[in-house]
């Protein structure tokens, strides 16, 4: 189906990019032809983002060459990127955001074509999306924003989108909308467009990619047609030996007393890992936030907090971007470590070093700024912050968004270990695989609990059953 004879849109020849001594990308050769859908997989820090930034012109290569078939720059060649972290202007409307990247919209009355173009793009990719082009972006949910961003990526914008780079496009979309996107990608590629698809969800990569490239430590370690890989083979190539997932049925453990009970019927016992599941945006995050706020005081932070919160939207309410890794970790335990109101620096450093080792934060020095870490490692910092506090209840709001497989395994193990020591976890996740790790699962639908599953009942099927209205569509 790919016309191999046609000229490649982009050709990278031995492209490398170094940041000081760090070889973020260490000589990658790659050509993208019209009709290609390239799946790009790799560990956090394997060089995916750097590769993307080289292709879209965000960074210049330290050595090697990047050539486009049309025009000198990525922009002229019709290369578009949709980024993992949301990059819309929240103060503008959906149509105005299109204007930012569409300099062809000029003169009085540019709004009407802008509205029409974005609406058309949204309709094509996400039929039935219900997004108003005149809505300000900060009134939209995170999934809707992601949809808008994708739609802007695929919109013609005066020329034509020829290569669209999707970096974790489905991380905040629920399954139905993700499927719409995947089928659009397939349709787009069969019409001669090209896509570079980056995702941690290997199922999606297999579903759309015609070719898969595995990056590891800045090098392309494997490149094959999608059929040439198996799921296991792909994980192995990325360099993470996934230990056989420990069966959740490690015999029904004994849980302690009930420590959480909400009006909605959400309960949790000591030492239990409770999952919240269902389609994205059906009230899980709200339920957790309400629970957290009801257990904390905004006036007085006690020495022994009852609950801690691990945020999923780390840009918005997770990391403290100006602070070092150390301070980001220890901010939750300052009152405990303080003596007469002064911070005990030695204890602070000890805790940070301890958690760096236990949770495997990839940095040489914990006094580095937290933004020097990749997304997955930033998330580890947030876990360390929560787990370092003595709070018996840990609330996690989709904490694994955009985190690689290896990190996930590390964190699962950590959660298990902490639960065994008597901590309670409330864990909202959009990924069924994660929910299946839990001892008990509450499935949400329309802001209500539609099912409570325990032990062997926790299967993808049962969760899906409870997530969807099973009656005939009226």
């Amino acid at each position: 189906m790919t016309d191999r004879e046609s000229a490649p849109l982009v050709t990278l020849t031995d492209a490398a990019r170094h940041f000081g001594p760090v070889r973020a990308l260490d000589g990658v050769s790659l050509s993208v032809h019209p009709g290609d859908c390239i799946g790009l997989v790799g560990h956090n820090g394997a060089g995916k983002s750097t590769l993307v930034n080289l292709i879209n012109g965000g960074l210049a290569p330290s050595s090697g060459e990047i050539a486009f078939d049309a025009g000198a720059s990525a922009l002229e060649a019709g290369v578009r990127s949709v980024f993992q972290e949301l990059s819309l202007c929240p103060n503008l409307t959906v149509a105005e955001n299109l204007r930012i990247s569409h300099s062809g919209l000029k003169g009085p009355g540019w709004r009407r074509p802008a509205r029409a173009e974005i609406a058309r793009s949204l309709d094509t990719i996400f039929p039935g999306h219900g997004i108003d082009p005149d809505a300000e972006v900060d009134t939209l949910s995170i999934a809707e924003r992601q949809m808008v961003e994708i739609a802007i990526g695929f919109a013609p914008r005066g020329t034509e989108a020829r290569l669209v780079i999707l970096d974790e496009p489905t991380s905040s979309l629920d399954a139905g909308i993700a499927d719409q996107l995947l089928s659009h990608v397939r349709r787009y590629c069969s019409e001669g467009g090209a896509v570079i698809f980056i995702s941690h969800m290997l199922g999606e990569v297999f579903e759309v990619a015609t070719r898969i490239i595995v990056l590891k430590d800045g090098k392309a370690v494997a490149e094959r047609a999608a059929g040439g890989f198996t799921r296991q083979g792909l994980v192995d190539a990325m360099g993470h030996v996934t230990a056989d997932t420990p069966e959740t049925a490690e015999a029904a453990r004994d849980f302690g007393a009930e420590v959480v009970r909400t009006d909605q019927g959400l309960t949790a016992r000591e030492g239990e890992v409770v999952g919240l599941s269902g389609l994205a945006g059906h009230g899980q995050a709200v339920a957790l936030a309400r629970l957290y706020l009801s257990r904390t005081s905004s006036w007085h932070a006690g020495r022994r907090p009852e609950v801690v919160f691990v945020a999923g939207d780390r840009q918005r309410d997770g990391i403290l971007p100006l602070w070092s890794i150390l301070r980001n970790i220890t901010v939750s335990i300052l009152p405990q470590g303080a003596r007469r109101g002064l911070v005990d620096r030695a204890a602070e450093t000890r805790v940070a070093q301890d958690w760096k080792a236990r949770i495997g934060i990839r940095t040489e020095d914990v006094t580095n700024p937290v933004l020097s870490l990749s997304g997955g490692n930033q998330q580890k910092v947030l876990f360390a912050r929560a787990l370092a506090s003595p709070a018996p209840v840990v609330i996690m709001d989709d904490p694994m968004r955009g985190v690689d497989v290896g990190t996930k395994q590390d964190v699962y193990a950590m959660i298990r270990a902490e639960a065994a020591r008597g901590r309670t976890f409330l864990w909202y996740s959009t990924e069924t695989e994660e929910v299946c790790q839990c001892d008990r699962v509450f499935v949400f639908r329309n802001h209500e609990i539609s099912a409570e599953l325990t032990g062997a009942e926790i299967t993808e099927e049962r969760i899906l059953e409870a997530s969807f209205e099973m009656q005939e569509a009226s």
């Binding site: 879209n56 965000g58 922009l75 990127s81 980024f83 990059s87 819309l88 202007c89 929240p90 103060n91 503008l92 105005e96 955001n97 204007r99 930012i100 990247s101 300099s103 919209l105 000029k106 003169g107 540019w110 709004r111 009134t139």
Partner: protein, 308 residues
């Protein structure tokens, strides 16, 4: 999102209306062509300065030199522009360009605007003193005529406020380039990724601020007929308050030109209102602050209700 949170302009309009009603109730004679002009004519330079400040706040910076800059522009207007119009115009143009350069430098060197503009306020203040060591100068006749014109139906101050609001609304909210400028405040990285030169956009925003700052200085001289190096120092804080009162935010590129003009009118009116209340001038500044806090609290409460 409730109605008020969605339409941010409602609250500034209501604040102004309430204050205006209270003023008319206390002093019915203000309810006339002449009275309105008297109440609001000093609002014209403040509205222009508020728009200038809004341009800076729009790109997530803040300008602490605006008052000194407006004073300098007023001094230039009252001296050079009056005596040698060409030289005067060139100086004012140079002032605008230096503002653009300031914006470019702040962006290129990643300096905090608050520090740079605080430093620049002494430069502007020094230059103003250099030009006009003691209060004096004279307004060019055409400027005086323009500021005292008596249009039919509505007094000059009201007409001017409407024109300023309409022009800046078109420029900032409706036009393509204005949208991109607001985008810089919202998410500069995504604007840069779309192929825009952020440094040029910031220079443009600062240049617009410089332009409106100069216009504020000129309008002020047209009203007062003379200038002084310290004539507009309080404009720095008034302009910031005006932007916020008008529904703008300090960060995130959320600004409203119409709101900013209304905010400036409200602040001016608050001063007159307090005089009508026979409040001693010693208390007026504090009372003005209290009005500001009241309005901002109302806004916060409505916003929180809207978010819940």
């Amino acid at each position: 999102m409730n109605f008020l949170a969605r339409h941010r302009i409602i609250l500034p309009v209501v604040s102004l209306a309430v204050l205006l009603a209270a003023t008319f109730w206390m002093q019915p004679r203000a309810m006339s062509y002449f009275g309105l002009n008297l109440l609001f004519n000093l609002a014209v330079p403040i509205a222009l300065a508020t728009i200038a400040q809004m341009m800076i706040i729009m790109v997530n910076d803040i300008d602490l030199s605006l008052g000194a800059f407006v004073s300098l522009a007023a001094c230039v207007t009252a001296t050079f522009l009056n005596d040698a119009p060409v030289v005067g115009l060139l100086i004012l143009l140079a002032l605008i360009l230096s503002y653009a350069a300031l914006g470019a430098v702040i962006h290129a060197l990643e300096l905090p605007a608050i520090v740079v503009t605080l430093g620049m306020s002494f430069v502007w203040g020094g230059l103003a003193l250099f030009i006009l060591p003691s209060p004096g100068g004279a307004s060019p006749d055409w400027l005086r005529t323009l500021m005292t014109v008596k249009p039919p139906f509505a007094p000059m101050a009201v007409v001017a406020a409407v024109i300023i609001a309409a022009v800046t609304h078109l420029l900032i909210i409706r036009s393509g380039i204005g949208t991109v400028l607001r985008g810089v405040g919202g998410n500069a990285r995504s604007v840069a990724r779309a192929g825009w030169s952020v440094i040029r956009l910031k220079a443009l925003a600062y240049a617009l601020a410089g332009l409106f700052g100069v216009l504020a200085g000129m309008a002020l001289v047209g009203l007062t007929t003379s200038a002084d190096a310290n004539i507009a120092l309080r404009y720095t804080l008034l302009s910031i308050a005006g932007v916020i009162l008008g529904g703008g935010e300090f960060t995130g590129g959320k600004v409203s030109p119409t709101g900013a003009v209304i905010g400036a009118l409200t602040l001016t009116l608050a001063a007159s209102f307090l005089s009508f209340m026979r409040l001693s001038p010693d208390w007026q500044i504090g009372a003005q602050g209290a009005i500001l806090i009241l309005v901002l609290t109302a806004r916060l409460i409505f916003r929180q209700k809207g978010a819940a």
